[in-house]
């Protein structure tokens, strides 16, 4: 489509802040500063080059404004779009569109959270629905547990297939020195862990960590002179359908169906062209539904699809090669880390967990309770 940012924007710098448990007193802004410095440094850019700023937060309502003050950035294009954990994938779409339009030249996407060390329990900016709050669902665990229960009922997905996701994701984490959880994990351990919100046990749930991330995006002409091999945006899409779980028509089908279709159409690619998937995983049911919604398998086939080691190391559909939100890092919102890992895979920088010859990657996420979705298809220079 005319105006699509396909091939008009590329990622030239990515970085995490310190991850895991950063200790009391560190703020979400501190982590964003760390991540920014590292990402600009690997790109070979300076803070003064940044004129587009993108951020979302559960701590700061005016996320890009707050972090811009701390960092001393006065952007000419700013975006605090908050659609849940996938916000940063949406930001990548917005940044590419702004770059294509000339509204900015160097875009910086930022996230930081001290979800683990910050104290005061799990921090969320969710607005409880008066039609749901009286019934005491744990937000968002119970909403996704009800989705998983429905998936099991509707398609015969098994408890063990859900556990497979956690086990294979852990196998990837064991190859990532930055991963929070690196001990071996078995299906039995996942199934028999303490019940949280049925059918989920503790080990169906992501880790809760601190962490921040930064992604630097610019136009291909500018990228040519920078330090990293540019990773190109081939396609991007967004969608949202509902906010609260009782408004979701089918609890097994997310708005990722639409965001994914839009992204693949823009890229002119299909799931068969993808070498590596980085899919937002807060709970074990996520990758199963994502793979269905994005078209890697049919609706309802996700349980059998992920079984037998297919999404783990050595499998033919590698998913969450960093260890994902399940085992590597999940500081409240995870979306930016899908972009970071996809970029590193396409640059060939992932060491033991590198997917040989990876040319096309998908970074995909949801926000809220299957509420919003954003998808980005990324590729090496050869794919543009």
């Amino acid at each position: 489509m005319d105006g699509d940012p396909r091939g008009k924007a590329c990622i030239v710098g990515v970085a995490e802040s310190d991850l895991g448990a950063v200790g009391a007193g560190v703020t979400a802004l501190d982590l964003q500063a760390q991540a920014m410095v590292r990402a600009l440094d690997e790109a070979g850019l300076r803070k003064a080059d940044v004129d587009g700023l993108f951020s979302a937060s559960v701590y700061y309502q005016m996320a890009s404004v707050e972090v811009a003050e701390y960092l001393g950035i006065r952007p000419r294009y700013t975006d605090s779009t908050t659609v849940g954990g996938c916000s940063f994938i949406a930001h990548l779409h917005h940044a590419a569109t702004a770059l294509r339009a000339g509204a900015c030249d160097v875009a910086l996407i930022l996230y930081g959270s001290t979800q683990r060390s910050g104290g005061g329990g799990f921090t969320t900016n969710a607005n409880p629905s008066p039609y749901e709050l009286p019934y005491g669902p744990r937000m968002p665990i119970s909403m996704y547990a009800m989705s998983a229960a429905r998936h099991m009922h509707q398609y015969g997905t098994t408890r063990e297939q859900l556990a497979e996701v956690a086990v294979q994701t852990r196998a990837w984490a064991r190859m990532n020195p930055k991963a929070f959880m690196r001990d071996p994990l078995t299906v039995e351990e996942v199934v028999n862990a303490r019940a949280i919100s049925e059918p989920f046990t503790l080990l169906d749930c992501c880790v809760v960590t601190d962490g921040g991330g930064a992604v630097v995006v610019t136009r291909p002409d500018r990228a040519r002179d920078l330090r990293q091999a540019p990773v190109h945006l081939l396609g991007a899409g967004e969608a949202h359908w509902h906010r609260h779980i009782h408004q979701m028509p089918d609890l097994t089908v997310s708005a990722g169906v639409e965001s994914g279709r839009r992204a693949f159409e823009m890229a002119g690619l299909t799931p068969g062209d993808v070498d590596v998937c980085e899919l937002y995983d807060a709970f074990t049911v996520f990758p199963i539904v994502h793979l269905e919604d994005l078209g890697f398998c049919g609706k309802g086939e996700g349980g059998p699809f992920v079984s037998g080691g297919r999404i783990g190391p050595g499998g033919d559909c590698p998913v969450n090669t960093n260890g994902g939100g399940m085992s590597y890092c999940h500081p409240g919102m995870y979306g930016i880390f899908t972009i970071i890992e996809a970029t590193r895979q396409l640059r060939g920088q992932c060491g033991d967990r590198q997917i040989e010859g990876a040319e096309v990657a998908v970074a995909h996420g949801v926000g809220g309770v299957w509420s919003a979705a954003a998808t980005a298809i990324l590729g090496t220079a050869a794919t543009v």
């Binding site: 629905s129 009286p134 229960a149 429905r150 949280i196």
Partner: protein, 135 residues
């Protein structure tokens, strides 16, 4: 809603109905779409010609979870597909949690006139369901 007419806030209409032991929903006077929660506009066609209706209070469990939280007994949370064609969140009483299954028929048991005040959500009466009896 005519200009100048006093607006009945939809959330208040819902809560007032609950206080009278009833769950209300809406149908659109133009496109006939069934809607819950109550709104000022039809979420299908955008019409303001929305009509409040009382539900007969019967439906089927669409999905369920049992929450295990420290310091209290496990409790179930369900989504119920009401016979009129809308979906609500609730909880099922008078049955062990393990017996609350997807597809089971349930009916409105009662409404607890809870006067909890949540800073964001306001006053929150709470309906509860039970397994549907014969007849």
């Amino acid at each position: 809603m005519a200009d100048g007419a006093a607006m009945l806030p939809p959330l208040k209409a819902y809560q007032d109905a609950l206080d009278n032991g009833e769950i209300i929903y809406q149908t659109c006077g133009d496109c006939e779409r069934v809607a819950f929660y109550p709104r000022l506009v039809c979420p299908e066609c955008g019409s303001t010609n929305v009509v409040y209706k009382p539900s007969a209070g019967k439906g089927e469990v669409y999905t369920r979870t049992v929450v295990h939280a420290r310091g209290r007994d496990p409790y179930n949370v369900v989504l119920i597909d009401m016979d009129e064609g809308f979906r609500i969140m609730s909880t099922v009483e008078d049955a062990p949690n393990d017996d609350v299954r997807i597809g089971m028929r349930v009916e409105l048991k009662t409404v607890y006139p809870v006067e909890e005040v949540d800073a964001k959500a306001g006053r929150l009466p709470k309906h509860v369901f039970r397994p549907q009896g014969d007849g």
